[in-house]
Symmetry: C3
Subunit: 345 residues, 3 copies
Amino acid sequence: MQKKSYTLIEIAEFLSAPLHGEKKCLIEGLATIQNAGPKKISFIDNPRYRKYLAATKAAAVIISPALLEECTTNAIVTENPYLAYAKLAQLFSYKQNTKRGIHPSAIIGKHCDIAASASIAPHAVIGDYVTVGENAVIGAGCVVGEHVSIGKNTFIYSNVSIYHHVKIGERVIIHSQAVIGSDGFGIAKDQEGWNKIPQLGGVIIEDDVEIGAGTTIDRGAIEDTWIKQGVKLDNQIQIGHNVIIGKHTVIAGCTGIAGSTTIGEYCMIGGGTGIGGHLNIVDHVSLTGMAMVTRSLDKPGVYSSGTGLQTNEAWRKSAVRFRQLDTFAERLNKLEKRLNQGDNS
Amino acid sequence: MQKKSYTLIEIAEFLSAPLHGEKKCLIEGLATIQNAGPKKISFIDNPRYRKYLAATKAAAVIISPALLEECTTNAIVTENPYLAYAKLAQLFSYKQNTKRGIHPSAIIGKHCDIAASASIAPHAVIGDYVTVGENAVIGAGCVVGEHVSIGKNTFIYSNVSIYHHVKIGERVIIHSQAVIGSDGFGIAKDQEGWNKIPQLGGVIIEDDVEIGAGTTIDRGAIEDTWIKQGVKLDNQIQIGHNVIIGKHTVIAGCTGIAGSTTIGEYCMIGGGTGIGGHLNIVDHVSLTGMAMVTRSLDKPGVYSSGTGLQTNEAWRKSAVRFRQLDTFAERLNKLEKRLNQGDNS
Amino acid sequence: MQKKSYTLIEIAEFLSAPLHGEKKCLIEGLATIQNAGPKKISFIDNPRYRKYLAATKAAAVIISPALLEECTTNAIVTENPYLAYAKLAQLFSYKQNTKRGIHPSAIIGKHCDIAASASIAPHAVIGDYVTVGENAVIGAGCVVGEHVSIGKNTFIYSNVSIYHHVKIGERVIIHSQAVIGSDGFGIAKDQEGWNKIPQLGGVIIEDDVEIGAGTTIDRGAIEDTWIKQGVKLDNQIQIGHNVIIGKHTVIAGCTGIAGSTTIGEYCMIGGGTGIGGHLNIVDHVSLTGMAMVTRSLDKPGVYSSGTGLQTNEAWRKSAVRFRQLDTFAERLNKLEKRLNQGDNS
């Protein structure tokens, strides 16, 4: 799917990084260092791939200065090869054939303000009072509720559902099947059962946010749920009502965050993590995968929970003992006491 | 998004609760006690918000009798402020502009019985032999399979997929991207690999059930999967084939329930919980978030599993020790024996 | 929903298994052994259902030879009753009314090659350069990106989203709301925040794969994400970029697999499992539900993690002690040392 080709000097200039090698060498795509063919460029970031450098068939590699000596092919040298790879991938990425304008099969509400350069794909359904900014793309089958605003250059993939009163910033990316603005899980009990609490708030998605496939973000109960600038959310994440996520925090897939929790800036949250409601997590907290968070965290750092993997046979024993831990503690206390008292009868 | 306004006496009468204060005071919306502006009404349920009562700018608050003395603004007094808030939120909730009738872009199958007061939104696709009750709403982009019945006043949001032979009751709410009636995960092995077992059952969703965004409910293998009256399901829940969930049970997001498990009435299941297959859980069981349930529960009560959060450094040590627990137990036994025998050589 | 009827001898011949009983007995459907009515056929596989055999009202049962003696009704005898049930269920399964050809409301791109026997349902949107094989079905509201190929007899349910450059084999089943080919979660940090890394790879889904409702499979970063022949994925599974899953592996719902992990053949992965990135898991590994996998597994076998369920009261004590485990180990060491040294002062 990578069609275009570039000379090595074009690439080096695009990356603002020095080229060691043949300027006119033609590059037709990116590849991994171990599998690269002769017209590909590769990179080394993770040190465990260094062993492939000597024998690579890549036409060129992006490497750190330390590796230049052992490189036998053309090299582009930079302190951060991973970031350079991220930028270079933009050159070779596939551009979808998105047509400007509103497809005739799309249904558009009243009082909408849709930029002429925006693209509304087939079978999209747009409610009343919706604004769509310049160059924004709304994918096929998307449904956008009333009073929604979508900023410039935002790209929404197919079959996304956006409820009413949601504000989406610029350069936001929303992947397929995501839901923005569904009702928060608010219920109140009476004698018979549960009463639904209508969710009066909305959702704010700031600029440069990315939202993964199948991720759901509930609207606020009274005030808004709020995803701040530059937040990156992976697939199948659940964000409860009135959650606030600080700038540049990244969250891996399958994580769930219960209502009214606030998460700071530059946090890194591993996949499958569960975070309880009404908690406050400060900036620069990292959580390893599948962490269970039931209290607020007021210090930056890396946190974890769970038990490591064992064979099922060994694990069954550990699991039984876990339930006995409190009696172990008592027995330890008693032993120490007896030994301290010289009582060994 | 809250447009309408009401006088305080109108609100007090709507809630059947006494008003202490100015009858004609005009209320334009609900707000949190700490952020309320001068035309808003608020409430206090959680005692940790009591501290905001003295200084609130709200025009009125809904409070319990115990707080009346320290209230400096208009007050509506009730024993259950949270329930009163739930009811009041209905007054201020945004009413979507759903049009009665079938949108011309919707595709309707043969032999359908769709009430004149029902709404079938743009690009919905309805299969043959479908019945839709009075005032029911089927959102844009929904796909409804053959032989499905949808009860009166049921509201289905956009892009929901309902397979064939599903029965949905009255006043049910189904949020976007939910899937009802997909095949259960039934496979049988032969020498080469796995054979799919066709799933012959359907799904029954009783009255007053709410189903969250992205939640999936599989059809039964032979008999039906069955969600009973008043059950509330949050987002991204997975319900396996032939699961039965008892009346008024509530389940928080990201929970998965494996096939053929029966859950009782009035259970409360925390988010991210996993429940194994072929289990039986009695009425009035609560599970804390991320609980792992691998056995039936025959007594009501609160159950939990997992380990609490630690710094990664401390957790690594705990995790290593967890795997040594069985040897710890043996060592404890040995120590106690030696001490009891007076053997300290 | 089971309409057709068969004689017992027709069923026995279909299953290539001997019939003990009345050849012309008419069977109208499958049922569970405990609930079967007089025109139904049932089966016993799980020994805990054997107790229902004597009193069953089923017209016939599929049983193993060992149970024939205690069977009081017609019997079809086979060594693998569960596999026989799986095959028989095909006879009674409901056939949806899928119409050949392209529905007039579907939008088809340029340069597509769609077999005449294929079915493209209402409101589906097909991009440019898409090929669809013989008898393949693309459900209502599906969106298929550019340069996608879909093999013969593949069935895609409603509202599925497939991005560009995805290859799907023959006899594949994809359930509603699944997403194939969304961007992998690739980001690189600079001074200000996170840069998106365009995902240049695609996705390969081989023959006979089944993909559950709401499951998401990301496209590769550079090379392809790859789901091999006969893999069965349940609902709401998340597959990260460049994951490779070996033949005939089955994965239960709500499992997440992080990027670049390779899983072997014939693995069985329980629901709610989390598997970290860049790991390698060999063939024939089983993981129990909610397992947390943070290291490669180079030996077949059954693996587990987590703690068993306790009452909340007991669990709170265990959880506190878990955090003290490392000090317990030290205290045990000290006690043993003292006892060995005869030091009990």
